[in-house]
Amino acid sequence: MSDKETTAPRRLRFEIFRFNPEDPESEPRIDAFEIDERPYMTLYMALNEIRETLDSGLQFDFACRSAICGSCGMMVNGRPALGCRTLTGDLPDIIRLHPLPAFKLIGDLSVDTGTWFREMAERTEAWIHEQQPFDKSAPEERMSDDIAQAIYEGDRCIECGCCVASCGVANLKPDFLAAAGLNRVARFMMDPRDKRDDADWFEVVASEQGVFGCVGMMACADVCPKDLPLLEVYAYLRRRALGSKFLRDS
């Protein structure tokens, strides 16, 4: 008897934000669902179970379900996180899910991060501004492995939008580049293959929309699922934006 009690699964209560902008009758609301917890249950498993057994209209996004693709950012008990790698075992009995703020809502937990990131990439011209066009017969260009590793570190951002959603500034000012955008800029800035000079970069980052828009609350660094060194990124950008000429002279 007691054995049965100890193995009885926990009953989880999900309180999920619902709104379907495509449905004229839909009003923003919270719906509650209850399911039994299973071992090593993630929000990916839980939300699919809810959709497949309780409410097949529920909208959310997952793709890789392995914390690589960045599709499933959502507010989990008030904090941005990737749904696929969030274990229900780490959460209380009541789990409140909301869509990420700062992005356009598509429906329920699904938001339009794709458009946000594409616009950011266009604004910051987030591609290598190369010295020469690609010459397929040219010998391979060298790069020190240390620099390659440093670039890779910045390149690891999966554009899930958690930092944007957590950012007080980004939530008030839609044109703020936020940590994801500024990290992307820093990644190109440190790449020797990119020929943009300090004056070019100054235009991109040294503004209210760029690094000087940040008020230093740094929630981004707390919520980043990839543990990107965002404090260092901001410091690097401020240094480059403010004192590149000064630093070079000294």
């Binding site: 495509e22 890789c64 379900r65 790698r85 429906g107 991060t113 591609w127 290598i128 397929k136």
Partner: protein
């Protein structure tokens, strides 16, 4: 509000690496290009490629002597001689260019560090002095089934780094990307493809995209294996299903389905082959390295089909580790050390922590072979043109181009996406520049109306049918149980019957959610029939192929049979038919004669005709199909010396 009709020069279905690279080629040639994608392109499944991209640069000591010829031979051996060798040759020769181009796009490839480096090779720690003169060149790691170290990599996030670099070029070129859009059907008149009917996954509205050239780049069909796949949840094989639905375009080698040896058990999340490439071991429940005896030469680094079979056999023999989720084996990378694991295998370290709660520097990783890659797909020729419909192309995993034959080597898929994107993209651009747009609106609106009617009928249907999700789960169980790693005639027959029953049930699926908008249940119910048809094609192809080749292993026909089966399966689904019809074509011109792969079984049934005879027949077939010897820049040296192809 979406317009009901969009026109463009080039339409690419799928925003993964193959589709994007192809789009870049077309857009750079001045063609107006539109990409449709289920997800924002950077979320495509290409981002999940981990360990590396094969290209014979030969930059580190263990890659010395590598060449495109060695890469070609490895690829053909890996394919168990199922590959089109002309395509494998094109591929191997273009891969180094593709890697250097990616460096140009900004991929931070891991570089050679001149001087002393420590590696783990076949269970031993080895110190190797990398040449100082090679310092800073793109370095390589070892992968399965290769004679040399050849995989270029960025930690264990190679696909991510490559996809972001390629997508940055798509943004730069201003290529239109319509994300959250699903292709529903091809618009064609039986001779030519004019574009697609698509459904917006934001609004649920259907619309048409008409183009001079349409490219299918929708990836693999792993999700027909339900949850027994490493694939992302979006890998339904959409493009292959669309092509099959035409009744004209054949799918090639659909029974060739790869199982990756090391998926995390039970979640099925991929753990890269780079773990074994960097020196990781496979252990049974007694912590014994069973691959050393099984494959003395290559050990853990035999090809994926061979390693997966040894692992499943090990489990069948009772040497698996029992768990509530079934048996598994162990992957041991503890000896590589925490520093290596948190740099060169960082993504593996994170996955182990996040999804298994373990630290692989101190604990063993539970792994089991799991469906991973679709060698089969839309059958195309060397230029990427689909058989049977002008203006239709396919690239990447969605295509059967066919450089992988019956088993793909690790790291070759990432390389294929870029090489095929370049090669086929150039052909697509050329075709589009020589063609005028036929905005056949009558045909388009008829296809649009049919798609809308189908969705409406599904929404209106009432009754007691099963849910689409239940049918999906049932399909996954059938596929893993009966069309898995070890196959046999009885199981395959039973699978064919079971899948046909599911197809029947699928016509009675009832939706529970009838609301407007994207309606995720409707979206899934619309793709389910295609998945079932692909599954039946896989099972029937496997049942018909009474031999074992690469990943297709029949316990009742355990030998490779080059006498009767040195061929590629073609499957067409005739209009109104209840099952696909199968035919066969030769694998293509043979350059490397069929022989022993260097791993796996050395027993086989030899071909009877000579290589020259085989190749003459292939050449004659190519000429008959209207292909001039002078038309192809590649592969001409492979033609038989006295052949009729001149």
């Amino acid at each position: 509000m979406t317009s009901q009709l969009i026109t463009t020069d080039v339409l690419v279905i799928g925003g993964g690496l193959a589709g994007e690279r192809c789009a870049i080629e077309a857009a750079a040639a001045g063609q107006d290009t539109v990409i449709l994608s289920l997800v924002p392109p950077r979320r495509s499944h290409s981002c999940a490629a981990q360990g590396g991209m094969q290209a014979a640069l030969g930059n580190c000591v263990k890659a010395e002597g590598d060449s495109t010829d060695v890469h070609f031979k490895d690829t053909v051996r890996g394919s168990d001689w199922g590959a089109d060798q002309e395509v494998a040759r094109i591929f191997a020769e273009e891969a180094p260019i593709a890697v250097r181009e990616l460096a140009h796009y900004g991929v931070p490839w891991t570089r050679v560090r001149g001087g002393k480096n420590t590696y783990f090779i076949k269970g031993e720690s080895v110190e190797i002095d990398e040449l100082l003169e090679n310092d800073g060149l793109i370095t390589h790691r070892d992968f399965g089934g290769t004679a040399k170290w050849r995989a270029c990599y960025a930690a264990a996030g190679t696909g991510h780094a490559v996809l972001y670099a390629v997508d940055s070029q798509v943004v730069r070129l201003g290529i239109t990307v319509r994300d959250r859009v699903e292709a529903i059907s091809l618009v064609h008149d039986g001779r030519r493809c004019y574009g697609v009917v698509a459904r917006c996954l934001r609004t649920g509205k259907h619309f048409c995209v008409l183009a001079k050239a349409t490219v299918i780049a929708t990836g693999g069909y792993g999700r027909i294996y339900g949850r027994y796949t490493t694939n992302a949840t979006i890998n339904y094989g959409t493009g292959a299903a669309l092509a099959l639905d035409t009744g004209i375009v054949p799918l090639g080698n659909m029974e060739a389905v790869q199982f990756h040896p090391t998926a995390l058990s039970p979640s099925g999340i991929l753990i890269t082959e780079g773990c074994r490439g960097d020196g990781g071991y496979l252990l049974d429940k007694n912590l014994h390295r069973f691959m050393v005896n099984a494959e003395p030469e290559k050990q853990e680094l035999a090809s994926r089909d061979v390693v997966s079979r040894h692992m499943e056999q090990c489990i069948k023999d009772g040497r698996g580790v029992d768990s509530p989720n079934g048996s598994h084996l162990w992957l041991d990378i503890r000896h590589l050390g925490e520093k290596h694991l948190t740099t060169k295998l960082l993504e593996v370290f994170d996955i182990c922590r996040d999804f298994a709660g373990i630290n692989p520097a101190h604990e063993l990783i539970p792994v089991r072979p799991t469906q991973h890659y679709s060698m089969g797909g839309v059958r195309v020729n060397k230029d990427g043109e689909a058989y049977g419909l002008a203006g239709l192309y396919a690239v990447g995993e969605a295509a059967c181009w066919d450089m992988h034959g019956f088993n793909r080597l690790g790291g070759n898929s990432l390389a294929e996406t870029l090489v095929a994107g370049r090669v086929v993209g150039a052909r697509v651009a050329e075709y589009a520049s020589l063609t005028t747009l036929h905005a056949n609106t009558e045909l388009a609106f008829a296809a649009l109306a049919a798609a809308e009617a189908r969705a409406t009928a599904l929404l209106k249907r009432e009754g007691k049918g099963r849910s689409a999700y239940e049918i999906r789960d049932a399909l996954g169980e059938i596929m893993i149980d009966k069309v898995g790693i070890f196959r046999n005639g009885a199981d395959l027959k039973s699978a064919v019957d079971d899948i046909r029953a599911l197809i029947d049930e699928c016509s009675r699926v009832v939706l529970r959610h009838k609301g407007p908008g994207a309606n995720p249940e409707l979206a899934f119910a619309l793709r389910l029939p295609g998945m079932l048809r692909l599954a039946l094609t896989v099972a029937m192809g496997a049942l018909a192929r009474t031999e074992s080749r690469g990943a297709h292993f029949r316990t009742d026909f355990p030998l490779r049979n080059d006498r009767e089966w040195l061929s590629r399966t073609l499957a067409r689904w005739q209009p109104k038919a209840s099952a696909p019809s199968l035919s066969y074509e030769p694998v293509g011109l043979l350059d490397l004669p069929p022989g022993h792969r260097g791993y796996g079984s050395d027993e086989r049934i030899e071909m009877q005709e000579s290589i020259v005879q085989y190749n003459e027949a292939v050449s004659a077939g190519q000429v008959e199909a209207g292909r001039l010897a002078t038309f192809e820049p590649f592969g001409s040296r492979l033609r038989p010396s006295q052949g009729g192809a001149r």
